[in-house]
């Protein structure tokens, strides 16, 4: 109790982060159920998607409805360059990130140059994602079309690291290799958003989100800031695409550019709390727990039919928008402040 009141919020936050990251790093040693590890892995994956979206949407206030664009472009590059040209995944990874960022620069340049804001920006990103969806389905000679790209499974433990595939990577890595991949990617995402909270660029980005005119009066070039944000956002999102391809060894137009990934990113970030470092992880964890719970209960009652979880997510999203626009992080902060004032009052 005295610790709670004497420690500064900054220190408390630092300790919180250390505990969280420590727990995530140690998880494979503590949890031996494959099903639960899989569950956590998917949670981190959605958190990464959400974090990518959050950089542009949460910090920059530019709500994209087509973030699949950046996920899908990275996924396709990562898959196709290995599949068609036999390049190393450790090389294609950089091209996947670069390609995603290039697409972001293209879309961003057009949208921001022509002053698209708000819903219009959301719709134009959606339209770009849809255009890429159609292209990836149609340009069969390049993308294999609707059949998708299936990468060969490496079964040689010697080659596990070289092929960036962990299924046959020996006792420990076959269990935890993909988990640590997504964890590292997510930590990169955390690092980027953490930097946004403590840097000039982050401050300028948030200023642009709040008011573009005021920002430009204060010497900020909104176009340049938004361009940087969309590229950064795409870079982080592209990591999710790389992970996906290495893990599932497969990508097709629907997975890459369909609305699913864009919506997953939105859900995690908005339910968790936009413009916060922890929001997307919190949102993703909440969604996955609710989804799992729904499958266990409603699924058991009515038979395992698709759709139940998304119905719930949709309802949660709408409720959040109506009553809790700051998301779960906002809720936690509120509760935390109440707790602190109560304890502080009791001490005095």
């Amino acid at each position: 109790m005295s610790m709670l009141t004497t420690m500064s919020t900054g220190n408390m936050q630092r300790i919180g982060w250390a505990v969280l990251i420590g727990a995530l790093l140690a998880a494979p040693f503590a949890i031996h159920s494959g099903r639960w590890m899989e569950f956590i892995e998917l949670t981190l994956f959605a958190a990464l998607l959400g974090q990518g979206w959050n950089i542009l949407g949460g910090y920059g206030g530019q709500y994209s409805f087509g973030h699949a664009l950046f996920f899908g472009t990275a996924a396709y590059l990562q898959a196709l360059l290995q599949y068609k040209l036999g390049w190393s995944p450790w090389l294609t990874l950089w091209i996947a990130i670069g390609g995603s960022v290039a697409v972001a620069a293209f879309v961003g340049f057009l949208s921001f140059r022509y002053g698209l804001r708000g819903s219009y920006f959301a719709l134009v990103t959606l339209a770009f994602a849809e255009a890429f969806h159609v292209l990836s389905r149609s340009l069969v000679s390049v993308t294999e079309g609707g059949r998708g790209v299936q990468l060969p499974l490496n079964q040689d433990p010697e080659q596990a690291l070289a092929t960036f595939q962990f299924t046959f990577a020996g006792p420990f890595l076959s269990e935890a290799g993909y988990y640590y991949t997504i964890l590292i990617f997510l930590l990169i995402g955390f690092a980027v958003t953490g930097w946004l909270n403590h840097s000039r660029f982050g401050a300028q980005l948030q200023a642009v989100r709040e008011d573009e005119d005021a920002a430009s009066a204060l010497g900020i070039d909104p176009f340049r800031v938004k361009m940087s944000a969309i590229c950064l956002s795409a870079g982080v999102t592209s990591l999710a695409g790389i992970y996906y391809v290495q893990k599932f060894l497969f990508v097709d137009p629907g997975i890459a550019y369909g609305p699913g990934k864009s919506v997953e990113a939105l859900f995690a970030a908005i339910i968790g709390g936009v413009g916060t470092v922890l929001g997307p992880l919190l949102g993703s964890a909440f969604i996955h727990i609710v989804g799992e719970f729904a499958k266990e209960t409603i699924g058991a009652m009515l038979g395992d039919r698709p759709g139940v979880d998304l119905i719930l997510f949709g309802i949660i999203l709408v409720l959040m928008l109506a009553y809790m626009p700051r998301g779960l992080v906002g809720l936690v902060e509120l509760l935390w402040r109440k707790l602190i004032t109560k304890r502080g009052g009791g001490n005095a």
Partner: protein
């Protein structure tokens, strides 16, 4: 001709003309779907992402009325149009209106949330299977020489024109229509004049949904219904509305026809799947270069 390494076939003028004609019929349906969307935008300044999902639900209603009760899809209009109105009215009042304070992308998100709920409800309740309404006059029609047009297509064209005309008259000549236009033009002023703006919002949303329900009836004989069908249509409807000018009825009609024809000709030259890119391309280009559309005026 060549497009991204795919060589384009060359067609006779008749074939192209035939495509254009069937594009007009397709476009009429697009126009009808877009009509409700443009009305809602014009009055509430809301981009309703759930519009396609509402179409999907109405198509299911038409389908079940036909398969369970044997109701002809066109007759079903008498039920689904009022039903759509009530549903839309309630949806605006109880859900969308509640978040409509604040930024426009938040409202867009709300309607996205609603569409996710409804789409997955359909998936949950009706499964992903495609379902078709079969009517005896399915394949009867008239041969225009360059293209064969079936009666359901003709009904859709005529129906779209009639409904657009009816809506236009409604907005001009009825008190409710005038109130809607007043709200669309000057929200605060209308409120001062004693118009119940919240009610008018919901009425407009209801009428928009009723339009989409009418479209569902006209679509049912020629289109299969499945949970994601709304997503296909909502993108097209956005394109039509943006092209025609947000909030413009005439724009929706013209935009619908333009998109229908472009899509058909695009499919002819680029193939069934790549042809769809014409829609996204038009959408992006219009948003970037002429966001007010062709008829950028208000209702």
């Amino acid at each position: 001709m060549d497009f991204l390494g795919i060589s384009l076939p060359s067609y006779s003028l008749e074939t192209v003309f035939g495509s254009a004609i069937s594009g007009v019929f397709l476009g009429a349906i697009y126009a009808l779907v877009a009509l409700g969307l443009t009305l809602i935008y014009g009055v509430l300044h809301i981009i309703n992402f759930a519009h396609g999902t509402l179409l999907m639900l109405a198509m299911y209603a038409v389908f079940f009325l036909w398969s369970v009760f044997g109701v002809d899809p066109y007759l079903a209009m008498l039920i689904v149009v009022p039903g759509g109105y009530l549903f839309g009215y309630a949806l605006q009042r109880s859900v969308i209106g509640r978040t409509s304070h604040g930024r426009d992308e938040i409202i867009l998100l709300t309607t996205l949330g609603v569409s996710i709920v409804l789409e997955n409800f359909a998936l949950f309740a009706f499964s992903a299977n495609e379902r078709n309404v079969q009517v005896p006059y399915d394949f009867d029609g008239i041969d225009l020489g360059v293209v064969y047009i079936v009666w359901p297509q003709i009904a859709a064209l005529v129906g779209s024109l009639l409904i657009t005309a009816a809506l236009w008259c409604f907005m001009r000549f009825t008190d409710t229509g005038k109130a809607i236009r007043a709200v669309a033009k000057e929200r605060q002023g209308a409120r001062l004049m004693g118009i119940n703006v919240e009610h008018i919002f919901a009425v407009s949303f209801g009428i928009g949904t009723a339009c989409v329900a009418a479209a569902a009836s006209l679509l049912a004989p020629t289109y299969a219904v499945f949970p994601q069908v709304g997503y296909l249509f909502v993108l097209i409807a956005f394109t039509v509305v943006v092209l025609g000018g947000m909030g413009s009825f005439v724009g929706a009609l013209v935009g619908g026809l333009v998109i229908g024809v472009t899509e058909q000709i695009g499919r002819l030259y680029l193939g069934e799947s790549l042809g769809l890119i014409t829609i996204s391309a038009i959408f992006i280009l219009i948003l970037l270069f002429r966001p007010t559309g062709l008829f950028g005026q208000r209702l």
